[in-house]
């Protein structure tokens, strides 16, 4: 469809790998917020014209994913005073390779999906599958609650990319509703992070098994 759209999607995929490879939480947060901004730009490339509906949807995405949520995460990180993910279940290099493998498989797999002809040339489907998988890896292999939130956001970004396929058909209310859900979820998680930190003086979610009635 649009070569620029594919280029943007490929940058999103590259950011995925960088998010898997770094141990600094600030870097992960910055990467995910940059990803959010790129996602916000995509509707313009797909629709190709400006309209108030488009402006509202993508402006909301950019503001929320690129601005408010990263700001909240960075503040939560300052409050609990941790900077790095120290002991992931799978190391940084192996998880990066796993993410790369997933991206490769997504590229090959999406070839064999029975997609509508308009959806085969852009990389939307493989990029979305790969991003969802990278979100899973971040979510399941990292021990700190903040990184798990970032994994959740990457996962949501993947779903958002998939939603691009329905760009023309989806009502604005649905899009805004999804964004609001996301905002509330992150808001709640930030509060939970603070509680975990107070209860265990650490953000390691593996300690939650020690909870008893």
């Amino acid at each position: 469809m649009n070569p620029l759209l594919n280029a943007l999607l490929v940058v999103v995929l590259a950011l995925n790998l960088f998010a898997l490879g770094t141990s600094r939480l600030v870097t992960v947060i910055k990467i995910v917020s940059l990803q959010g901004v790129l996602l916000g730009l995509m509707p313009f490339l797909i629709e190709g014209h400006l309209g108030w509906r488009l402006l509202l949807a993508s402006g909301g995405t950019i503001l929320l994913k690129g601005g408010i949520i990263p700001f909240m995460m960075i503040r939560a990180m300052r409050d609990v005073q941790i900077k790095r993910e120290m002991e992931p279940l799978i190391g940084f290099l192996p998880s990066m390779l796993l993410g790369a493998l997933a991206t490769g498989f997504a590229l090959l797999f999406s070839k064999s999906l029975p997609l509508a002809s308009a959806h085969t040339t852009p990389l939307l489907v493989p990029a979305s599958l790969a991003t969802i998988f990278v979100g899973f890896i971040l979510l399941t292999t990292r021990a700190k609650a903040i990184t798990q939130v970032m994994g959740y956001l990457v996962l949501e970004n993947g779903i958002y990319i998939f939603g691009m396929l329905l760009m023309g058909a989806m009502p604005l209310v649905v899009e805004l509703g999804v964004l609001l859900d996301l905002f509330v979820a992150v808001f709640v998680i930030c509060i939970i992070i603070n509680h975990i930190n107070q209860a265990f003086s650490s953000l390691d979610t593996r300690r939650l098994v020690a909870l008893k009635e």
């Binding site: 070569p3 620029l4 594919n6 280029a7 999607l9 490929v10 940058v11 995929l13 590259a14 790998l17 960088f18 490879g21 940084f92 290099l93 990066m96 390779l97 790369a100 991206t103 490769g104 590229l107 090959l108 070839k111 990389l123």
Partner: protein, 302 residues
């Protein structure tokens, strides 16, 4: 004919200026005034006038290495077209020669480092070769993508592929290749995320550790060779980043020079805003670069 002459003059005269621009950018970021833009030329002239001190333990390799590596790099520069113009030398399969002319330079620099018998230089040589193992596949994957796009194995035509074939359908691959090649540019020229060109006598450095025993004109040759390498690899990167052509020779040459300085400024910005990676994390960066370029290839052939 004129274009050939300009190619020679630019390739031989411009490289130290690029280093000057990088240093100036870093100085601006740090709020300093910085060295004069032409400082590297003065340094080279100063080094050329000095005497050479040669250790008694070294053999002829120590003296020959700077000359051979500079020759290799300049030869590689002759295979690369600058901007939209033709390269002076080109034949089928010269992309392999290009990669290994750069490797010959590296081989002799490391051989000379081992020749001094200093454990510090040996360490630098080991690191240089280790990281080169990882940056070579990136270069080859990048060339593979361009070869697939253009359908030729001539380095000159292949680098012009984004210009002649057009970026439609391959934009995604080209973005990936550009990221990979920029990482290689930083790694091969020992710029900041990989190595710090300003540190001497520090245990984590790579390239500088190998040339500690060289002095006078020999050191000058090494420094000059390093800057020519920066020029050549930037020229390769520019083909992927800015495939534009105006048709007027004069305009194209000045555009090329501006783009070149732009790459230098970009490197300066990266060096100012990033800290050097820990030594054990450098392979991660290079492996990421390999993965990007490999994906670029997968995207193109799938």
């Amino acid at each position: 004919m004129i274009n050939l002459l300009v190619h020679f003059v630019l390739m031989l005269a411009m490289p130290p200026l690029l280093l000057g621009v990088i240093n100036k950018t870093k100085a601006l970021f740090a709020g300093r005034k910085g060295l004069p833009l032409l400082q590297n030329y003065y340094d080279l002239i100063k080094l050329a006038r000095k005497d050479v001190v040669i250790s008694q333990t070294t053999t002829w390799i120590f003296v020959a290495a700077p000359v051979i590596s500079l020759t290799g790099i300049v030869m590689a520069g002759l295979l690369v077209p600058l901007g939209p113009f033709q390269s002076p030398i080109s034949f089928t399969g010269d992309l392999i020669l290009f990669a290994y002319l750069l490797a010959v330079g590296r081989f002799f620099t490391t051989a000379a480092a081992l020749d001094t018998g200093s454990p510090f230089e040996g360490m630098g040589a080991a690191r240089e070769v280790t990281f080169a193992c990882l940056s070579e596949p990136v270069l080859f994957f990048a060339l593979l993508v361009l070869a697939k796009m253009s359908g030729t194995l001539i380095l000159g035509d292949l680098l012009h592929a984004p210009l002649t074939v057009g970026i439609q359908g391959a934009a995604a691959s080209l973005v990936l290749v550009a990221i990979g090649m920029f990482i290689v540019l930083l790694a091969e020229n020992s710029r900041i995320p990989v190595d710090d060109p300003n540190t001497h006598l520090e245990l984590t450095m790579i390239h500088e550790a190998m040339v500690l025993d060289h002095s006078g004109p020999l050191l000058g040759l090494i420094l000059y060779g390093a800057s020519v390498k920066l020029f050549v690899l930037s020229a390769v990167l520019l083909h992927i980043l800015f495939p534009f052509q105006s048709g007027y020779a004069l305009l194209d040459w000045s555009l090329f020079m501006v783009e070149m300085l732009g790459v230098a400024v970009a490197i300066g910005v990266v060096e100012s805003i990033m800290a050097r990676l820990q030594m054990r994390h450098v392979p991660y960066l290079l492996i990421a670069a390999i993965l990007f370029c490999a994906f670029g290839f997968v995207l193109l052939v799938r």
